[in-house]
Symmetry: C2
Subunit: 363 residues, 2 copies
């Protein structure tokens, strides 16, 4: 069954006549149309998928060529003054009574306009949140191939930059070198702002690279990812130049142990909460339970953060072909932090590590 057929069957189950898809990853997933929104207020287009009939891609003239080339399964219709101006005619043409929209990617201000428009046409607007996201949870073979290519390229960029790192270089220059190389090697863009955090800066899980010069012996956390053919990678390495300090060595060893325990725990049928607890226990038992404030991992696909989660709050079961990060960390204010992050594919009896792990563990 094609994706569109699957979605239409879900519409039927919920008695919905059509759905508006505004979320850019969902839009790309269903149509192949690659444009990204400048921001949520400046959309590059919306899919209109009726339960019966050919789906439409609504966009403006700037994107006409791309839309037609990339989304051959869709009829492209252009609007001059926003998607909502095009909608009334479509709602009549397709005899829509119940119109779904994506609650999690519709601004309240847009919702208010939509409500007015629906009222005028005696249509019921229905908020949905997961109709497409749930289709994205388990990856197809083609998606797994793209994710692996993204992971592999990301690692290559890391290796190449890591070789050039010497004490005295600024965090920001290393981050810049990474992001430039990503694009030179063919990535669409970084999947998030690259983190290079050294010494005490690394105590913040989301540190912004600054003018601090990296030094021997201290932990340097590099969290990086790229987008290749739409799919994201996400990886963290903690490296030490020269001889690691005693403390660096101790903390890296604990985090690595927690990571390996987490990877070993991943398996279809286990919950995200169960996996998180197993890795977290290692850190707790070592006396650093209060220094690991975030979840163990998250799903990766068209979005760099997507379901499922490996965290105390995620009680659903993992399924085969989900892709998640495993990224424990220990953060100590005034000293620094260590985080190690791989991506794995969930399998029926465990998981497959998508990363290669040769760096920095001969401690």
């Amino acid at each position: 069954m094609t994706l569109i057929a699957k979605l239409k069957s879900r519409l039927a189950t919920r008695n919905l006549d059509a759905i508006l898809i505004s979320q850019p990853d969902n839009r790309r997933f269903l149509s192949g149309y690659t444009a990204s929104d400048h921001n949520i207020g400046e959309s590059a287009g919306v899919l209109f998928i009726p339960r019966r009939g050919k789906p439409l891609l609504l966009t403006d003239s700037r994107f006409e060529l791309d839309a037609k080339t990339e989304a051959p399964g869709f009829s492209v219709q252009l609007y001059a003054k926003g998607m909502l101006a095009l909608l009334p005619d479509l709602l009549i043409e397709y005899q829509i009574k119940r119109l779904a929209f994506e609650s999690h990617y519709t601004l309240h201000s847009t919702f208010e306009q939509l409500v007015k428009l629906c009222k005028k046409n005696s249509i019921e607007p229905i908020a949905t949140t997961d109709l497409v996201e749930t289709l994205r949870l388990c990856k197809s073979e083609s998606e797994l191939g793209k994710l692996q290519a993204s992971v592999t390229l990301n690692e290559q960029v890391f290796q190449e930059v890591h070789r050039t790192m010497v004490p005295g270089m600024k965090e920001i220059d290393i981050a810049l070198q990474i992001e430039t190389l990503m694009r030179q090697r063919g990535a669409e863009r970084p999947s998030f702002a690259t983190i290079v955090a050294s010494g005490e800066n690394s105590a913040s899980p989301h540190a912004v690279p600054g003018l601090r010069k990296i030094q021997e012996g201290e932990p340097i956390v590099i969290d990086m990812g790229l987008v290749l053919d739409g799919y994201c990678s996400d990886m963290t390495r903690t490296v030490v130049l020269g001889k690691p300090s005693v403390k660096s060595r101790e903390i890296i060893r604990i985090v690595r142990k927690a990571q390996l325990a987490g990877i070993n725990a991943v398996q279809a049928g286990k919950t995200g909460k169960q996996v998180d607890r197993i890795a977290r226990k290692i850190i707790k038992d070592a006396g650093y339970g209060n220094c690991f404030g975030h979840g163990l991992g998250h799903g990766v696909g068209l979005a760099v953060h997507e379901p499922p989660g490996l965290s105390p709050r995620y009680t659903k079961k993992l399924k085969a072909n989900m892709v998640v990060t495993v990224e424990p960390g220990i953060y100590i204010e005034g000293w620094g932090g260590v985080r190690l992050e791989n991506m794995v594919v969930v399998t029926p009896d465990g998981c497959r590590n998508m990363n290669r792990d040769e760096t920095c563990f001969n401690l």
Copy 2:
């Protein structure tokens, strides 16, 4: 009067007891807190500004250090499970009856949770759209200084890259060189994806840099901007390598004439529509009226596109210390396009050009 005092006075006027600020530029404007949202669903924090009492910055532990350092006027409160979990206690503590939120940066899904939460506490949620945006329209001296620094750095980067441009270089490589240099020179990031569009590619105002090699004689449109200390620049140059073709020369001269007319027309008290019309007339009179499809300009500040507009639709009056772009263009399908863009500060009796214009006008 401080910004917060101004905002509190607006809350009083509208009989609002507090406002939640989720829009990242507004958040930074009011608090100094520089974090950016990964996306609208992954917020780096929300301001809670009560009509009476000290304002709060609500965020999670990842951002605690930055929040406390950057926003000394705010009490930082941390949430583990989302901002909304923190809210009920605050609403009681501050005796809130009418709670404003930003309709244009609140997801429908968040709104629904907010409505439930308010209902439970007998509170009225009030949608607002412009309470902070209108405070951002006229720039302070400090903001003008930052905008000028952003413009000046942007020009330096352009000059440096322009000197290296020779026929045969690919558009995408020039764009990458520009963005790398921006960050090496201290910019936070480009303020939008840099446009380098040559020959017939330049006929699209929003061209994406590609593999096309730039050639002698043809127009090459470079539209670039950066973010420095939070503030955006935005500038377009159309350059020609070697001797311009007759057509290139003709079109550039017309666009330059329109730009100068536009700059001369900018003045406090005039409407955006009036200024647009004056520049547009030059292009119309030269026979290219149909080749200038966008507005003449837009406001620039913490956002690269913000009010006011210079366009047929903007009928409000300009005020002193607003900052706008003046960017006429002529786009001819199959041939190419020319756009020239400066930023100006509106003054009581005209405007001050923030750019230097020495390039490419000895035609």
